[in-house]
Amino acid sequence: MKTYHDIASDGGSRILEQVSAQQERLTARLSSVRRIVAIASGKGGVGKSTLTAMLAAALGQQSCRVGILDADLNGPSMAHMMGVRRHVPIPANGSVSPALAANDVAVMSMDMFLPADSTPLLWRAPSQQNAFTWRSMVEMSALRELLSDTDWGKLDVLLIDLPPGSDRIQNLADLLPDLSGVIIVTTPAAVAQMVVSRSITLATDVAGLAVIGLVENMTSFACPVCSHQQRLFPAAPDTRSLAEEHDLAYLGSIPFDSQLARQLDHGRCFVSTSPDSPASRAIFSVARSVHTRLNL
């Protein structure tokens, strides 16, 4: 007499084998990437994408081969910031080519697959009702493909710009067990630091990730005439204390610069066009620290 277990199968779909093959493809693709680093925060609006774009450009100037994956599938901005929004990824030989931005930074973003700036990310389904039950799963599949099917070539470091939400750190750790570490971004605002503190705990204690360090963004406003720096959040808690509390390296602070925002809006590389500005100098300092800590 046969039991249920004798006949139960997935009808020849071999789902587990297919999932295993996906993971092998991902591992093979990233074998030529020395370090993979996530830029995360947990809090939105702190400047993760700005830091990712400028850190990549600064590392590129230090002769590093750098790639950026924009993991913010629903709010992609990296292709625009890096000036490669018009790039069309063409499949060839089992992969697609990333866009090449200033300093030869390779860029891949969901932006490049959507027809217009106003097109939201919607997935094909019989109904968008109850999409919460499967949406995160198809997004993880898309993120896996953006990583595994992009021809990154040989990279010293691949920076992954994560969307807001501390859960994104955990999801990425599940997808990439060999993640080199996470750079956490915050602003001096107390609310941001509260959320960021939780994200640090999740990254270290739950996901078991190495946190490379903490970066404070929008620390001060630099006068465009005399470069005098005024703190944007005068009564804010000290970010260095937050780093010490979690036993993390403090990688540096970056002043707010309206020119930086304007240059990114136009897809121009700020650290190349204004290398002597206080913001650029701060970004170069963070890049040097990251370079050392990652042994690039």
Binding site: D10, P91, F113, L114, W123, P126, R135, M137, V138, L146
Partner: protein, 149 residues
């Protein structure tokens, strides 16, 4: 049992009917909308994968509004008479179960929003039971009479 006919996919569900060649006994297997969508979200081929995955295959074929020239998801050939049919059926764009004629649609849209969906479901259920694929004013009148409205 041999494959007799399929219905759908309509609203994400598919009915596959098999028939015994000797006694004509028929059984139907139905897919669950949520489960099918969940498996497809993994980026795997229902029915098994015979060829290497194309670059960005799931991403490009799953976008509701893709760039021009993006591919449809190719069906997978399978030895299994169920998963093979499921794979082929879901590879093609889904067609609506009912064709709503403009005058019938206008009558539905004239109904207050808070009961509109319920009325539409009742009309479609009536059409399903009576084998109608096109819903026009005559069907609407039949439903009205049947429900005593």
């Amino acid at each position: 049992m041999g494959l007799s006919e399929t219905h759908g996919p309509f609203d994400g569900t598919l009915s596959i009917v098999y028939e015994c060649p000797v006694c004509s006994h028929r059984i139907a297997m139905l897919t669950n909308r949520a489960e099918t969508q969940m498996v497809r979200s993994l980026g795997v081929k229902i029915g098994g994968r015979q060829t290497e995955a194309e670059p960005m295959e799931t991403l490009r074929s799953s976008l509701a509004v893709p760039r021009d020239g993006e591919p449809e998801q190719a069906a997978s050939r399978s030895k299994c008479p169920f998963t093979g049919v499921v794979s082929e059926a879901f590879a093609a764009p889904e067609t609506p179960e009912f064709e709503w004629m403009p005058e019938a649609k206008a009558r539905i849209e004239a109904i207050p929003p808070f009961i509109r969906e319920m009325v539409q479901q009742n009309v479609e259920e009536y059409a399903r039971q009576h084998g109608y694929r096109r819903i026009d004013e005559a069907v609407m009148d039949e439903v009205k009479g049947a429900l005593g409205m």
